[in-house]
């Protein structure tokens, strides 16, 4: 890891003013230190926001939840309100990485994690996302890469939290010293590689991700998230599914189907949602939704199996959300 100076801030105001002169924000530090140890990132100035207590905590509001950016994944996974009403989010946070990392990693950091691609994360490869021309994955090893909507970069969205937040229609709160607060819907937060290969999200350099707002789900909402890897103890997703169902009796009034490991930006599958909407949730409809979600899939040389895997992840998670199936033993522990 390179040498750096660090401003250890205890108030948001101080952190924002430190950031004014430009620097890299560190919260839990898990993803940032990983990249710094790999030598892909070499910031010489860190603004440490980890001690800012005002950015921590889960607050119920009149119309939903506000989660401070520094709330850890473990705190979210264990929160009784989130577990009962925003199950998809506790599922996603509770199955990310390892128990220890969940104790350290924050929801803000989870949402801001950089891409999962072993070329991107290696200092030896200067790729399109690092300001160069080339992508190494298309002609290289791509078994864990994207299968749809990847444009010039088939990396996969790394944040399981974002898969849940997209389904929950969450909003990211960004704060800067110069412009104060602004809200960005999670669906507008990430930048597709073809829109701008050098930026992963709309957060400006002088902004800090301060909170996440989630609207109260409609009555009758049930939700779930499952992540599939090659193993159940700590693995990256090869397929994952976030499912949110607004139920009216046994009819699904509205469905949201989200995926992370399919594409560089977390995505909703309107095709899958259309299959579920207005239907009774059965294994048959759930399977049909899974299949529909693969509309437009264009697997790479080594990852056609993911096109087979995602529909399974989706149908099983639909059934889990609907209470018709137990948590899958093939999904992350």
């Amino acid at each position: 890891m390179n040498s750096f100076s660090l401003a250890d801030c205890t108030s948001l105001e101080s952190a924002l003013s430190e950031l004014k002169s430009g620097a890299v924000v560190k919260a839990g530090g898990v993803d940032l230190l990983d990249r710094m140890k790999n030598g892909t990132d070499t910031p010489t100035r860190l603004v440490n926001i980890r001690r800012i207590s005002e950015l921590r905590g889960i607050h119920e509001t009149s119309d939903g939840l506000t989660i401070g950016a520094l709330t850890t994944l473990a705190e979210i996974a264990d929160d009784p309100t989130i577990r009962s009403q925003y199950t998809i989010l506790s599922d996603a946070c509770g199955h990310a990485a390892t128990p220890h990392i969940r104790n350290m990693a924050t929801i803000g950091g989870n949402v801001l994690q950089e891409l999962q691609c072993w070329y991107f994360r290696s200092a030896e490869f200067q790729c399109i996302r690092k300001g160069k021309e080339q992508c190494f994955a298309f002609s290289g090893l791509n078994q864990y890469h994207a299968i749809m909507d990847y444009g010039g970069c088939p990396s996969v969205a790394p944040s399981s939290g974002a898969v849940a937040l997209l389904a929950l229609n969450g909003t990211i709160e960004l704060t800067s010293a110069a412009r104060g607060k602004r809200m960005v819907a999670i669906k507008d937060f990430y930048i597709h590689p073809d829109a701008n290969p050098h930026r992963f999200n709309v957060k400006a350099d002088d902004e800090i991700l301060t909170a996440i707002h989630i609207p109260q789900p409609a009555p009758g909402t049930r939700s779930a998230y499952q992540k599939y890897g090659e193993k159940e103890s700590h693995d990256w997703a090869i397929a994952d599914a976030g499912i949110l169902l607004e139920m009216d009796g046994d009819q699904c009034k509205r469905a949201v189907v989200t995926m992370g490991a399919a594409s560089p930006v977390v995505r909703r599958s309107q095709e899958a949602e259309a299959v579920l909407t207005g239907k009774r949730i059965t294994e048959q409809t759930a399977r049909a939704a899974g299949k529909a979600a693969m509309t437009g899939a264009m697997p790479l040389s080594m990852n056609a199996y993911k096109v087979q895997l995602f529909p399974v992840a989706i149908y099983r998670t639909v059934l889990l959300a609907a209470g018709q199936m137990e948590r899958d033993p093939s999904a992350a522990g």
Binding site: S3, F125, L141, E230, S233, Q308, L309, S330
Partner: protein
């Protein structure tokens, strides 16, 4: 039974001299076989100096009994000091600079910026690289620096006052390369116009753990070999067979991934080079340091108090060892050089891949008429990818045709890895044997009873036949409806009785009744310290925890390098001999003060007795106070096996139960029933721990692990522990271990090893056979990831050709 041709067993591993003894000898009756199954007695002629025959485990107090790990408390409390933990006054931290290209000539190494970096005390540019295969004709390459043959090959190193200064300075070393064409894919490397990894024939020597290849083989392009082993006319035998099973198997490269990386702390002083090393062989480190620096062996001391896993990759000083020593010599300070995780994956060994075409011919009654194995494997820029051990040594065949080829690629050299060649070979062989049974419409165990001559495995199969798990097996494949299918399969394994006579120990009895045992042997986690304590405990009748065990230091009598499952089999007889001799000297030293002669005295179960009832029995401790000297000592070295003409193999039979999720392609190993042989189990607790470990490592190899090199740049893309995937807590099956306690009448302890035979060999085939039982589909490729499983399940099923 012969060892297959390319498995190089270094001389040090083999019983060197024949015959039990030329000195005075005696005839003893020894237990042979397996209690409750095949137990009987046989006579052996043994040297007079040998201790009395050790009774069966059931008649002993400490040996053979579940015994707490001698250093367990030190490990559980964090007090155990590993090489990585060694801190010496003034110690410097060293960091390697590694090649970033897979094949190149180094034109220059500019160290000036690094040398002036604050805190830097020394820089070393490597002029001789260790570990890679070596050109038979070195003049084919003229270069000031060693040719780079893989990404991650060390080029230089920096020693500085802090790890951070060393890291910063290492980044300032500028290496200028002249890139050369390279190849990392084995299939491409076999092509006629492939870039050459070596400009001529090259060989890699084996280590005390095995690996390497026979010298003098032909080399065509990158293909080193074949090593040919032919017995009889296999082609003719195939023609005369009733059934021929013909299949193609591939396995991946696995890295050892010990949790403690390779490394040393080297302390070069004018009077002595002291090396603290994370090694499986203190002797091997001393030998390599002495040879490399042309020092007398007596001027090199190697210390390994604790070591954090090796699995075959940690023999000799290696590049970290000699570079740290060179930096220590240069700086006059102790130098610590521990590899980081990426370096550990790249540069210090791996299990080679394999590509095997296996044909087995048989008669209707199952008799094997011919086995033919043509294998290719890449050990990177090393050799040792042969995998014909199981095909050659597991079953009786009438004719044999084996050709093993190493394919050089621009990747880090392989090293011995737990049962070299055997997991690969058994993965193929044991699936084909199952297939043969199906074609012959024979029971899987009945067929093996017919073709397997090993008496222990015969008993093991009987145990399996009667086990609940085997009885619950579906008779026909693909029985379960629904997406989750259950299946049960088995595989056998074979390993060999390797020994080294370079196994010695000293036993000391002090006047206060305290006991010490000393040997240079290192405890690599298999628990030899505990076993040594048990042997003294049995001899002197004191609890093992009261015995002081001093190992892992070349200042003590020579100890075996721990590879090939040699340690327990080689060292324990020497220790028992030394303990016995010390006990006799002890009795002689107390006899005068007790007014009797040594021949009147006995020491049993901790009590000293007079045969002529000259005194009341007294405890060992109170008797020790009567010693006429402060300390008695005895040293003993391993003598050859009592009946070395008899060549023993070991093995086991493992049954795996899997639940296959046919939609996600995930194979869950639910239960492994592991029946194993390690001769006389010295400490069943630790034997079971090792078998658990072998099974788990085998599951991990079978389902997850895969070293991935980018084909276009030769860079390993998963040189970490998150994308190089190792079984974790959720992937651990229920493991039931059954030990077949077997006596072979070969030494004063009659102990054998378990490290290799402990499950790693058979896990792959047992899981694959269970997968077949679950789904009716064969997988002949490792690792069995969801991608591989789904592809196999998607394929239209071939019609089985019935006999």
């Amino acid at each position: 039974m012969a060892i297959h041709p390319t498995e190089v067993i270094p001389d040090a591993l083999m019983s060197s001299s024949a015959g039990a003894s030329d000195a005075a000898s005696k005839t003893v009756k020894m237990p042979i076989g397996i209690p409750d199954f095949t137990l009987r007695e046989e006579e052996r002629i043994v040297p007079d100096s040998e201790p009395p025959v050790l009774p069966l485990n059931k008649d002993l107090k400490y040996i053979g009994k579940p015994t707490e790990r001698w250093d367990g408390r030190a490990k559980a409390t964090g007090r155990a000091r590993y090489t990585a933990d060694v801190q010496l006054p003034g110690m410097l931290y060293a960091k390697f600079v590694n090649a970033s290209v897979p094949h190149a000539k180094i034109l220059s190494v500019d160290t000036s910026a690094a040398e002036s970096h604050p805190g830097v005390k020394g820089v070393h540019v490597i002029e001789k690289i260790l570990g890679n295969a070596v050109l038979r004709n070195p003049s084919l390459e003229q270069s000031r620096y060693p040719l780079v043959r893989y990404v991650g090959q060390p080029v230089a190193a920096v020693a500085a006052t802090s790890p951070q200064a060393a890291e910063d300075a290492a980044a300032k070393i500028k290496v200028k390369y002249e890139p050369l064409p390279f190849v990392v894919d084995m299939d491409l490397a076999r092509e006629a116009d492939a870039p050459l990894v070596f400009p001529g024939a090259a060989d890699q020597a084996g280590t005390a753990g095995g690996g390497g290849s026979a010298g003098g083989l032909t080399q065509t392009g990158n293909v080193h070999g074949p090593a040919v082993h032919k017995v009889g006319d296999a082609e003719q035998a195939f023609k005369e067979s009733d059934v021929v099973v013909d299949a193609h198997y591939t396995t991946q490269v696995q890295t050892h991934s010990a949790l403690e990386t390779h490394g040393v702390v080297a302390d070069w002083k004018p009077e002595m080079l002291t090396v603290y090393a994370s090694t499986q062989g203190t002797a091997s480190v001393r030998e390599e340091c002495a040879a490399f620096f042309q020092l007398p062996m007596s001027k090199v001391r190697v210390i390994t108090e604790y070591m954090g896993g090796g699995f075959g990759a940690k023999f000799g000083a290696g590049n970290p060892g000699v570079v740290a020593a060179a930096l220590s010599r240069k700086t006059g300070a102790p130098v610590r050089l521990m590899l980081d995780r990426q370096e550990e994956h790249l540069s210090v060994g791996n299990r080679p891949s394999s590509d095997q075409r296996l044909r087995i011919g048989a008669k209707k009654d199952g008799t094997i008429t011919a086995i033919q194995l043509i294998s290719y494997g890449t050990a990177g820029c090393g050799t040792g990818a042969g995998c014909a051990g199981p095909a050659t040594n597991l079953y009786k065949w009438a004719t044999l045709h084996v050709e093993e080829n190493d394919v050089f690629t621009n990747a880090g050299p392989a090293a011995a890895f737990r049962a070299p060649g055997h997991p690969q070979g058994a993965f193929a062989l044991e699936q084909s044997i199952d297939e043969l049974a199906e074609r012959l419409n024979m029971d899987l165990l009945d067929l093996r009873d017919r073709i397997d001559e090993n008496p222990v495995r015969r008993v093991q199969r009987q145990i399996i036949r009667e086990s609940a798990i085997w009885k619950s097996r579906h008779a026909t494949p693909n029985t379960d409806a629904g997406p989750i299918k259950r299946g049960i399969g088995l595989s056998q394994s074979v390993w060999y009785r390797h020994l080294t006579m370079e196994s010695a120990a000293e036993v000391r009895v002090h006047k206060d009744g305290s006991l010490e045992v000393l040997s240079a042997v290192q405890d690599i986690g298999s628990g030899i310290k505990t076993v040594l304590a048990q042997i003294l405990a049995e001899q002197f009748g004191v609890p093992p925890a009261k015995v002081e065990v001093k190992v892992g230091d070349t200042n003590y009598p020579v100890g075996p390098n721990s590879g090939g499952s040699v340690t327990t089999a080689s060292l324990t007889p020497a220790v028992r001999d030394a303990a016995w001799q010390a006990s006799q000297k002890f009795l002689a030293s107390i006899a005068p003060s007790l007014g009797t002669s040594a021949s009147d005295l006995s020491l049993n179960e901790g009590m000293v007795r007079s045969k002529s009832n000259k005194f009341q029995p007294m405890t060992f401790r109170s008797a020790a106070a009567r010693m006429n000297t402060d300390q008695v000592t005895a040293q003993a070295k391993r003598i050859p096996d009592y009946d070395p003409k008899k060549y023993d193999t070991y093995g086991g039979v493992d049954v795996a139960e899997v639940a296959v999720d046919t939609e996600t392609g995930r194979i869950h190993v639910k239960h492994v029933y592991a029946v194993h042989d390690c001769g006389r189990p010295m400490n069943p607790t630790q034997v079971i721990s090792q078998i658990n470990g072998g099974v788990i490592q085998g599951v991990s190899y079978t389902l997850f692990e895969h070293r991935l090199l980018d084909p276009n740049y030769g860079i390993m893309v998963n040189a970490n522990l998150d994308k190089y995937k190792i079984a974790g807590s959720f992937e651990i099956p229920k493991i039931e271990v059954v030990l077949t306690e077997s006596y072979i009448g070969q030494s004063s302890t009659d102990a054998s090893g378990i490290g290799e035979a402990a499950g790693i060999i058979s896990a792959g085939a047992a899981i694959a056979n269970a997968f077949y039982n679950a789904t009716g589909v064969r997988i002949r490729q490792l690792p069995m990831t969801p991608a591989v499983v789904l592809a196999a399940l998607n394929k239209p099923k071939p019609q089985m050709e019935a006999l």
